[in-house]
């Protein structure tokens, strides 16, 4: 057990070190969602968005939940990228030739991605706060938001890592990533509530786990516990199923790649 911890700690610290050495990349990953989506998009659509439709005091406060979950989505889907590069340059092979527990590399990645994502979510909520968005459920609500983010993020990171292990080249990886990311966002309640969507889009959006996450985060920010709790309960169930499927699939991909 002590050995297992030593491995995971060392491998996690490697991801942290890498990030801290790529200062520009760190800055842009951190700033991009809040700058682009929250500040620009939020303010841009301030008057175009109908308060009657969004059921929120203003568009930014409506959008905050969407930006939080989008950040989880993008971080999760990109979570396997570093492993992909490790695979391509042989570093992964070097790690795997050492007497480590096979799961350590993957676990270290989960820990790292979840931590970075949580920090980013906190920054987004902080910026939203500066624009006057106060979470209705307070700090406990923020904790609930982080939990939902992690539940969603685990499955996404698993998908991403499975893809990293399975694809032939990193070109394939980024094509699939680019293909998944935007439709996931547009076919969810991130930017527009389901009721306001064209029927077929709203229909598809209901099958998007992202919608469930957003529909739980949004009342935590806008309404309060009574409104939010049923949604939170629901999202926990949905995410457990989602994660189980993703983890099962990725475990298979991992075993195939390592066999």
């Amino acid at each position: 057990m002590a050995q297992y911890w030593q491995e995971i700690h060392a491998l996690t610290m490697r991801w942290v070190r890498r990030l801290s050495r790529e200062k520009f990349s760190m800055l842009f990953t951190l700033v991009q969602p809040m700058l682009f989506w929250l500040i620009f998009f939020g303010n841009l659509f301030q008057r175009a968005a109908d308060v009657q439709v969004t059921q929120a005091p203003n568009y930014i406060s409506f959008l905050t939940a969407g930006v939080v979950v989008m950040t989880v989505l993008n971080n999760g889907l990109a979570g396997g990228v570093d492993l992909l590069f490790d695979k391509e340059n042989g570093f992964l092979e070097r790690l795997m030739s050492t007497p480590i527990h096979r799961s350590s590399v993957i676990l270290s990645r989960f820990i790292f991605v979840m931590t970075i994502t949580s920090l980013q979510v906190l920054v987004i909520l902080g910026v939203a706060f500066l624009f006057g968005v106060q979470p209705a459920t307070g700090l406990l609500g923020v904790a609930a938001i982080l939990m939902i983010g992690m539940l969603f993020g685990v499955g996404l990171t698993a998908i991403s890592m499975a893809m990293a292990f399975s694809v032939k080249s990193h070109g394939d990886f980024f094509s699939v990533l680019g293909f998944l990311s935007l439709p996931m966002i547009f076919l969810s309640s991130a930017l527009v509530p389901l009721e306001a969507m064209p029927g077929w889009m709203g229909f598809l959006a209901r099958f998007n786990p992202m919608t469930w996450a957003i529909d739980a985060v949004r009342p935590l920010i806008l309404s309060g516990w009574t409104e939010a709790l049923p949604h939170v309960g629901m999202v926990v169930v949905v995410m457990i199923i989602f994660d189980a499927l993703c983890l099962y699939g990725s475990a298979k991909a991992f075993r195939r790649a390592m066999g």
Partner: protein, 323 residues
């Protein structure tokens, strides 16, 4: 010979989608020797090596390292070996020292022990000065030295080197050869793949020539060369159109073992060049073949390679590069 066996490979086969990367491979590596797997790219060297370091599971057959099966006792094997991959498996953002510290943790070394060993290794491979710079500032030779230090960190009983000098300049190459010899002198067993004939010749105590997933021949470089027997007479003709005629004239003559055409003439394997030279010259005269150049030499490792695979090492390497 009752030398201790470090590695035993028995009837190893690995297939990918019905295509056999290696088939029915059997060989032994003795303790304390430098054992080479020589062959062109795609011959099955890396597949064999990856199986030995537990990264691949054989389709059939077994491999054991110091008596431990590479599949059933993979964890034990991993404790005993060091591995230097073919690619520069370096994280460009980490410093040299951080690479070694990371591996120290993965081999579960106590902090103090790791620190001591890392200092020794950095000194050994002459990377003390750049140890705290990110690896992206390293030259190719420095990265290779770091690779080797990483392979040595667990103080392995057996070190596996995959193409240790691929793409290095001559000086770095000689440097790496020196390290390998020094490690052998310390009693380490070394298994390496290479597609350089001179490297195999200079460095390996014994080597297996692999082509098309099969071992073509195995022995010490000297044995392999002597085993080929006789000498090689190389002839360059003025008129290359006469090559086929000369081939048929020489084939089957007493004292001539094999005749192989080259782009400019013939390579003739003979029992003894003193006896065969007059006969070769006479045949050439009779056919009115004007010779541009003639020389003879003892068999070299590339002659061994040609004799066993039917093509020259450089040809097959060029084939791969041309693809």
């Amino acid at each position: 010979m009752d030398r201790a066996i470090a590695i035993q490979v028995s009837r190893l086969t690995k297939t990918y989608d019905g295509h056999a990367a290696v088939s029915d491979l059997s060989f032994q590596v003795y303790s304390g020797e430098i054992f080479g797997l020589l062959g062109p790219n795609g011959a099955g060297k890396s597949t064999t090596l990856r199986t030995l370091i537990t990264l691949l599971t054989p389709t059939s057959g077994t491999a054991s390292v110091l008596g431990h099966d590479t599949v059933r006792e993979a964890d034990v094997v991993r404790q005993l070996i060091g591995y230097v991959p073919q690619e520069r498996a370096i994280d460009r953002f980490l410093t040299g020292r951080e690479h070694l510290e990371l591996l120290g943790a993965l081999y579960h070394l106590p902090k103090a022990e790791a620190k001591k060993r890392i200092a020794e290794l950095l000194k050994l491979v002459d990377l003390e000065e750049p140890a705290d710079r990110p690896a992206k500032t390293y030259s190719g030779g420095m990265k290779r030295k770091l690779d080797i230090a990483c392979g040595l960190l667990p103080d392995p009983k057996i070190l596996f080197l995959d193409e240790p000098t691929l793409g290095l300049d001559v000086q770095s190459r000689l440097r790496i050869w020196d390290y390998v010899r020094m490690l052998k002198a310390r009693g380490m067993t070394i298994v390496m793949t290479t597609n350089y004939l001179d490297e195999a010749d200079q460095l390996c105590d014994r080597l297996a020539i692999i082509d098309g997933g099969k071992i073509k021949t195995l022995g010490s470089p000297a044995e392999l060369k002597v085993g080929l027997g006789g000498d090689i007479v190389s002839v360059t003709l003025k008129d290359q159109n006469k090559i086929p005629a000369l081939v048929s004239a020489l084939t089957g003559q007493p004292g001539i073992r094999a005749v192989k055409t080259t782009p400019t003439g013939l390579d003739i394997r003979v029992e003894s060049s003193e006896k065969a030279l007059p006969a070769i010259l006479e045949s050439a005269n009779r056919l009115d073949c004007r010779l541009e150049f003639i020389e003879y030499h003892r068999p070299r490792l590339d002659d061994v390679f040609i004799a066993h695979t039917g093509r020259s090492m450089t040809e097959s390497v060029q084939d791969i590069q041309a693809e």
